[in-house]
Amino acid sequence: MPAQILAFLNFKGGVAKTTDTVNIGAVMALHPQIGGKRVLIVDLDPQCNSTLWLVGREVYRWVQERDQTVHEIFRRSLKKLKPDMASIIHPVDKSELSGGRLDLLPGSFSCLKLEEDPKMLDDNALGHLVLTKALETIKNQYDYILLDCPPSWSILTRNALRAAHHVLIPYTPDYLALEGILWMRQLHEEFSQRVGIGNIARLTGVIVNRVRNAANHQYVNAHQQAITELGQVIEQLHQKHGYRLHVFQPHIAETSAVAEAVNYQEHLLNKDMNHPVTRQFTALTQDIMMHLRILNPRMIEAA
């Protein structure tokens, strides 16, 4: 069965898009109980945070020098050539226990220059279908393909929206991240009208990150109101615009364990499997997978 393609997207930066992409991908692939899936992470963000986190600086520089990155797909597309996906996908980790594997299609800062090429921006030339065509050749090799998207409206974002089935929106409880959701809804609607309704990913759900625990009452108060505001906005998006977003559970706590995992260039499952935030990511991943099964009954039949 072809892979479910999930885009992690919010136009607000710093809402833990990369944290969610990397750790949810790791749980899907490598968790001893609920893992076992074949997962590919595609780093579409020119900041290349997913790449640096998963493979480290040396490998990152090595692939940049040889352009064995997502940029290669776009570069070859401009020359009307097909990409050699096998040469640019890198294995990251695999689990003998669960039978799953985690691969990476590295990002590239060279993608920043894609916007300068008029061929990429011309809708008629279908510059936003480059990723779709490339993933078409490998989608049967994976169960899930996760797209770590840049926090901007760019050719990469449009490619992600055309390629993906679902958009998951990482959110931190504050007003600016809430505005990011509203911008996404607006741009999603405009883009959908341009390319045809049903031809882009569905806005499926929200992942709440960086929730502070009860230690500091001032912050608990602020976060509680932000969550209430999120609920109100989500209900209004459904009633006024027909967008039904699901808020996945549990909410991920603010913790230094995530930064520690980044510093050690390991995902949380490797760094500390029994840490409370790792358990939260496990439960969150379960919720996401169950929700996707409800939305796509064919997945249950295939399993």
């Binding site: 109980q33 609920i34 007003y175 809430l178 509203l182 759900g205 625990n213 009860a214 608990v220 108060n221 602020a222 976060h223 509680q224 109101q225 969550i227 209430t228 505001e229 999120l230 609920g231 109100q232 906005v233 989500i234 209900e235 209004q236 998006l237 459904h238 006024k240 039904r244 977003l245 699901h246 808020v247 996945f248 559970q249 549990p250 706590a253 409370p276 358990r279 939260q280 439960a283 379960q286 919720d287 169950m290 249950i300 399993a303």
Partner: protein
């Protein structure tokens, strides 16, 4: 020294048993529709063994049946996700405690499940199910959007947030007490003492709510 070492060892064994039981319950709960019957039977058998060993190991003779645990687990976790502070208060009252034991937090799933086991053993399934039902009034949306939405509170906040402060303070005495309480909780206020400062704070947060959520 030898007795202490034995107690520590016993405690670690107990923790491992509990952890294994939870893992098996998680797998069964999450994947039961997708597993074949032999795998489901194997998991059930594993849990039976673990529960029996747990019952034998527990020094204070706590007994928790597997069926009670599985029956209570879902509503219990949902109730905690929805209102952890309320559940903490209910659990403390049910157990006759002033505070949670050291090392137990109301914010982690594993500790919430530990409290489930303790309460099931101490007060039985009916009490646990009753506690798990306790929800604030007029809360909707959890099934629809995965997040609790108190529509009545939200509507009140929208209305109050568009009033000038003087008008709000003047009219607050006429508002329904439950609406005030639910709305205050929705914006993170305890609302225990409604002095002038607290009322101004509630209005300030209502203004913020109205401003941030108007589409």
């Amino acid at each position: 020294m030898a007795v202490q070492h034995q107690e520590v060892t016993d405690s670690l064994k107990l923790q491992k048993l509990i952890a294994r039981l939870r893992e098996a319950a998680d797998t069964l709960e999450a994947d039961e529709p997708l597993l074949d019957s032999s795998k489901v039977n194997a998991l059930n058998a594993q849990m039976e063994v673990l529960v029996n060993r747990l019952n034998q190991s527990e020094k204070e003779a706590l007994t928790v049946s597997k069926s009670d645990y599985l029956r209570a687990r879902g509503p219990w976790l949902e109730a905690w996700n929805f209102n952890a502070a309320q559940m903490e208060r209910s659990v403390l009252f049910a157990l006759g405690l002033n505070a949670l034991p050291k090392g137990i937090s109301k914010d982690t799933m594993s500790d919430r499940l530990h409290l489930l086991s303790v309460l099931l053993a101490a007060r039985g399934l009916d009490t646990v199910l009753e506690l798990s039902k306790a929800q604030p009034i007029a809360t909707l949306g959890y099934q629809d959007y995965g997040i609790a939405i108190d529509r009545k509170a939200n509507q009140a906040l929208l209305l109050w947030g568009q009033m000038p402060q003087d008008e709000f303070l003047q009219k607050m005495t006429t508002f329904d007490e439950q609406t005030i309480r639910c709305s205050a909780k929705a914006v993170g206020l305890s609302g225990a003492k409604w002095n002038t400062t607290a009322r101004r704070e509630l209005h300030r947060r209502a203004v913020r709510f109205a401003r941030n959520t108007m589409l």
